[in-house]
Symmetry: C2
Subunit: 156 residues, 2 copies
């Protein structure tokens, strides 16, 4: 067995075999599901700190900082799921809001990714200072980077 | 409008309003979807480096290190999705493999989470040294922590 020869235990292999898509040879549906999952996880962490920023939930500085760090750690991840053949009307049959014009504007799309990553990193850093007003202001900047990209590249 | 008073821009609010579940008041289906998404994202990054470890894909030290770091960053995230009322047969009607015995063994479940987080952090660190054999060995240890938990708490 090749698996045994490589030094991976049978136990570990059993786990690996249960894992899903590989990025190296991802099917369109896997890439779409991946990026949607990544955005979902980002939303899970962003939403409660946005609620704090809006005043709907009491500001919890530690919780804000923890979730802001998670958002920053996640910010680089969704983008590798945006690959050719995975956009709207690409014939994959999967429900996605990602417009095909993404493929026509790679530089702009990449810049918008970078803006989001940069502002999210700043948010994580600022949140560690545990000041509500500066944290709220920076969260708003992150939100704007989301909107900037959605306005151009996400279906209504 | 309360939203305007808090200093969040209308643009940012528009984004926030499109976000989904809040962790603070998550419905069972949101928590289940969240943790499944988090595991899916972990699998997306773990699977290709496992393929390298198995010899199915050529070892790319930079790529291995990048994905190992992502796995380490993600390792702390799924667990907050495991809350009361979200396990199998809890009446939520969502398809989940998470066994209800998780709720009966919180200390053991938490220890298994910690084991996974610890080994994933070690993997990210070791992967930076860009040595195939040590990286492969540590990846196997991470895989074992997955299996240890799945054996006890995940349905077949």
């Amino acid at each position: 067995m090749r698996i045994m020869k490589t030094g991976l235990s049978a136990a570990a292999c059993a786990v690996l075999l249960t894992l899903g898509a590989t990025a190296s040879a991802a099917e369109p549906e896997d890439a779409i599901h991946y990026r949607q999952s990544a955005f979902g996880v980002i939303g899970w962490h962003f939403s409660p700190i946005a609620d704090m920023a809006k005043g709907d939930v009491e500001y919890d500085a530690d919780e804000f900082a923890r979730r802001a760090q998670n958002v920053a750690d996640l910010a680089s991840m969704p983008w590798e799921g945006f690959v050719d053949g995975t956009y709207q009307n690409d014939g994959h049959g999967i429900n996605t809001d990602a417009l095909a014009k993404i493929a026509d504007n790679p530089d702009d799309f990449q810049q918008k990714q970078q803006d989001m990553m940069d502002e999210a990193q700043k948010l994580a850093k600022i949140a560690q200072e545990k000041d509500f007003r500066t944290s709220r202001a920076q969260l708003s900047k992150v939100g704007k980077t989301c909107k900037n990209c959605h306005d151009d590249y996400r279906a209504e």
